[in-house]
Amino acid sequence: MSEVERTRLTLAVSARDHIEGPNDAPVTLVEYGDYECPYCGRAYPIVKKLQHELGSQLRFVFRNFPLKEIHPHAQHAAEAAEAAAAQGRFAEMHDALFEHQRDLRDLRLSEHAAAIGLDVARFEKDLADHTYAARVREDFLSGLRSGVNGTPTFFINGLRHNGPWDFEVLLNAIRAASTTSESTSR
């Protein structure tokens, strides 16, 4: 298996994704993550800081990669984020889930739904019916095919970011990708 094949994002960012930041930003950061994974919890404020630092220079996309056997609430939390997305509130739910990732019981999910202004009855029905389970699985499979081997895994302009992912490292990697994308678009 060649290195190139292994490390490319196989599912391009598109209208199916939950996108923060402008579509013409020079750099797109894709994260495959799990709401119950403590490492993803640690990555959450780092991504926020990157978004703050880079502003319109960065487009951020989060995709679900729940390891549901070791994280018993991860699947439902992912479906909750998708159910919120269906009501136009993905980012709010995403943030609420990471900010309370130690307690992701269904009761709490409903409280978050109410707090961010969702139609709670519809939200709860979507969770009970697993309306977005297939969507979560689609994210998961796209991650597998792209060489995601754990969470969080980041892709910068479609290439897997290997190694540490602290703020400075990611910032430098994004800036490097930004320079490349500018020089190639000229």
């Binding site: 070791i70 597998l144 095919r145």
Partner: protein, 164 residues
């Protein structure tokens, strides 16, 4: 017998048969799985950190492996009691085999024993229904190789089967 640059058995080689304990009183032999693809995943040790753990990942990928009618077997030099505790804690739904006595015998047969560490390599083999190795990969020992290579190999086998 052909090997790759790590010494691992290369594609085209007949997969050496073995019988290893999956639990203290149950064994699994490779030949008993003839007729369906087998994914053999050698890994250095139980209890590596959770979120990047290869076995925890494969546990989630099981439905995909099963779509290809493939059987997944994890193999390390850990003893059966260690495997049982590890599998219970991580809620693993596939067998973990103990290459424990004589230590690493099967890993040596496949060319993926690390003498310097006393563990196996982190190595993957996809074996076809006829018992022939069709794809193999040795990962740097600290790097979880993910599942994409395995899935592509299983897909190739499936396509060949449909064209026969």
């Amino acid at each position: 017998m052909s090997t790759d640059q790590h010494g691992a058995l290369a594609p085209g080689t007949e997969a050496p048969d073995f019988s290893l304990h999956a639990t203290p009183d149950q064994s699994v032999s490779l030949s008993s799985l003839r007729g369906r693809p087998v994914v053999l995943a050698f890994y250095p040790a139980d209890w590596s950190p959770v979120c990047g753990d290869q076995m925890a990942l494969y546990n989630e990928v099981l439905p995909e492996f099963h779509r290809f009618n493939a059987e997944l077997l994890g193999v390390s030099v850990d003893g059966t009691w260690c495997h049982l505790a590890f599998a219970a804690e991580r809620r693993l739904h596939f067998p973990l085999l103990s290459d424990f006595e004589p230590k690493g015998r099967v890993a040596r047969l496949y060319g993926v024993y690390r003498d310097e560490d006393g563990t196996t390599e982190r190595a993957l083999f996809v074996i076809d229904a006829a018992g022939v190795i069709r794809w193999s990969y040795v990962s740097p020992v600290g790097v979880n190789p993910g599942a994409d290579g395995i899935l592509r190999a299983l897909e190739t086998l499936e396509q060949e089967r449909q064209h026969v």
